[in-house]
Symmetry: C2
Subunit: 480 residues, 2 copies
């Protein structure tokens, strides 16, 4: 076992590191990518499309918040594999789960969970995925990724809608439906849709891509369903200065949502929305907006899907970001992936389960190995009180960034994410240069939208990491 | 480590078992599902849709070809988790890979392989997935499942087609394309299609489901693309008696394929075809049919995708089933999953790689943990000469089944799969009763199509297992 496996100190807000062997700070020895990274990417590219690769990681050497690359650079990682590393590289609790007999069996004896489930599946779900299920939700459909999760949720929504139209769960299909669906035609393959928002990102398979609206490069040349797009509130910052304008903007978007639901030729079965639009630029809306959306969807018999693929699992200072909405009536489905290290969706209403077997089945139905790992992630989050940690560190970081924004006008525009843990973002007109400069100072950070820079540290990001990050931001602001 | 981890004897065709501690035969102690399975399924169903569950497996106790359930039944498993267990339950070589430091790191430090790949990725691919790449193919796109693999291949096909229409890889998108795709409209989101065959199964996501034509229950209530369906040859058996009819039937289907490609309003970018239609009923066609399909697609600038999700990785007596086609010009892409324990697609022509980064990307781009496991599967296949084993055992089994078919007319109809390893099937008018009776005799077997029974044993299925299976078939034929 690696030497770093020690019991970390329990210190949310504290000064001691959670990980005894985490580096004390970044070390930059080459440009990023350095010569070894470039050579390794070049070799990899011979067999595997590496056009988007920007470094080659040495993950066995990486620790906690620090990514080590093959050139020996040690980078403070506040991008975390596109927001998907939950509790640090080589986390000891995860290491233990990954070497357990249950994990080994799940890896080498992968069952068809739908048909021939493994005896410990209920326990795996109850001690992991379901232990942290959103309020009002006690059912889960596992999937393999965020896009897969969203597509499964869409399928469940369409089936639910059509069973409602048929007159309930027990009404069977007509002969016409059975025959027409084999030809991909109505009524068996109905003209129903999922409404999504402008600038949304929900994945890149054919159904999910039809709801994704963040960037053309994701969508070009791929046939798409003619599903409707609703404007998402274009909120102005700082919030205190634009109270009235923002209320009106959200009202405009809600009215448009209702108009689309009432009039779009492909009837809307569900609305999918991110609590914070992430890939599209870290676009926020107020609890009132989401409450209004819940009210409209409920009134029109349309399901509401909260896409928590990027926002879920603690990063916003709550376990699920939609908890910030303060709904009295929860979303119908909540999808997740990324920091869960596996995909899937939650729901509470058993009517959302298909009314017959084999309708939402597939060979594997997720991956028990990854579900076991999620159990360990949940244990680690509880043991170290990481949601609280993220809330506290986020508040500190946001406060300090406000000071930076005042100190360097135009460098940290539209600072956003107050009260949302470390899920903080800002705009910089020279975004790509900013991101590149950060690497020269040992910080690995990511962009989003047109000019956004998003912070996506892990849940083990602490005050002393925040101070390093703030120091680097200060240097960049002077350089750029 | 489990006690069974011993070096198995190397005996393709031989009598000794590959696994020293494999049970000598099935043991049936309860009905299947038994009381403990039923209770466990009932508990699981409270949180996870278990409507399709037919037993609860105890996979830590399962060994080689034998599935052990929680009631203590020991079943000879010739269904193998819907054709997806490659080299036996608790295979020692896989056990070793699953407990290696590389596996642990891949599990707990899951990178975004597209953006920040891990340093051992090229080696993992070269010693696993690419070591067994089909002839003429030296590139791989990893995915998470068979459906995911097919959807990625479809996306690559659409991008390739549009770049051809644009005038080559270096021609950029127009402003009109960039804007229209954000609205899911042409020309950015073009009206292109994938042609598939009647009774085909290619997965259950929105694009792949639009090409799936096996059963209405998979498709009902899900919006679908209006993509074309071509008839698949309805071959008559025994082949020797219907030579002329079968030639004509295949010719008819080829003519129809060409007619659709020339006339369908949504222009066909690719044709996807299974070497043996599996879910749809184990429907075979001759090498001449596939050669004709390759010729037609090539002539019309349409890509040909071989879907080897169920047929690939050795079960047909060749590593890839499309090797039986004897093509001089290979398929453009080959998709895989199931026995590979991970998904993806192979290709040889670098023009099939997208012309810009981020077009086929996603956060994880497969799972290095599962790719490491596939490397161990390949090692085990080579070490035990399992493709040869499957060819030899399959020939023996097919010969004996011909005798059974003659002995019991009407019980083993349309016996098919001669020369295709253990990928053997037959029809029985009381199929579901047959499958249920098999369990009472300790054999776990699966159906396909309307009345098909398909054999999908693992690659470690040996002559002595075949003899047990044949004995059970004889008993059922007398009972049914």
């Amino acid at each position: 076992m690696p030497a770093f496996i020690e019991t970390p100190a329990k210190t949310p807000t504290g000064d001691a590191s959670f990980f005894a062997t985490e580096p004390e700070g970044p070390t930059v020895v080459t440009s990023v990518p350095g010569p070894k990274s470039k050579e390794a990417i070049c070799r990899l590219d011979k067999v595997y499309d590496s056009a988007a690769a920007v470094l080659m990681g040495d993950y066995q050497k990486s620790r906690g918040n620090y990514l080590v690359d093959v050139d020996g650079n040690v980078l403070l990682d506040v991008y975390a594999q596109i927001a998907s590393i939950p509790v640090g590289y080589n986390n000891p609790t995860l290491h233990q789960a990954a070497t357990s007999p249950a994990m080994t069996s799940a890896l080498i004896n992968r069952p068809s969970l739908c048909n021939f489930p493994q005896s410990d599946l209920a326990t795996i779900l109850e001690t992991g995925l379901l232990k942290v299920a959103p309020k009002g939700m006690d059912q889960v459909y596992p999937a393999l990724s965020g896009a897969d999760a969203n597509e499964l949720a869409f399928k469940a929504a369409f089936m639910w809608r059509r069973q409602q139209e048929r007159g309930g769960r027990d009404v069977d299909f007509t002969q016409e439906e059975l025959e027409s669906t084999m030809l991909n035609l109505e009524p068996g393959s109905p003209n129903l849709s999922i409404m999504s928002f402008k600038a949304a990102f929900h994945g890149r398979l054919f159904g999910s891509l039809s709801t994704t609206r963040s960037k053309p490069i994701h969508k070009l040349d791929i046939p798409a369903f003619d599903w409707p797009q609703c404007p998402f509130p274009a909120i102005k910052y700082p919030l205190e200065e634009y109270v009235e304008e923002n209320v009106q903007e959200e009202q405009r978007c809600l009215e448009e949502a209702e108009r689309i639901i009432k009039t779009h030729p492909s009837k809307v079965a569900a609305v999918i929305v991110e609590p914070i639009q992430s890939e599209g630029g870290d676009n926020h809306a107020s609890p009132a907006f989401f409450q209004g959306l819940r009210e409209i969807t409920r009134r029109h018999g349309v399901l509401l899907i909260a896409d928590e693929v990027q926002t879920g699992v603690g990063a916003t200072g709550r376990f699920w970001a939609h908890e910030h909405w303060n709904l009295s009536d929860p979303p119908d489905m909540v999808t997740f992936s990324k920091k869960a290290q596996t995909g899937g969706f939650y729901f509470g209403n058993r009517d959302i389960r298909p009314n017959q077997p084999y309708r939402l089945c597939n060979t594997w139905m997720g991956d028990a190995a990854r579900a076991i790992l999620f159990g360990a992630i949940v244990d680690e989050i509880e043991r170290l009180d990481l949601v609280k940690n993220t809330a506290l560190v986020g508040d500190y970081l946001y406060g300090e960034m406000e000071k930076l924004a005042n100190k360097y006008p135009g460098k940290f525009d539209n600072l956003r994410g107050k009260g949302k843990g470390t899920f903080i973002a800002f705009d910089n007109p020279k975004r790509d240069e900013f991101v590149a400069l950060a690497k020269t100072h040992g910080v690995h950070i990511g962009g989003c939208g047109v000019s956004g820079i998003r912070l996506r540290p892990m849940l083990v990001f602490q005050k002393h990491h925040a101070d390093i990050l703030l120091g680097v931001f200060d240097k960049i602001a002077q350089q750029i």
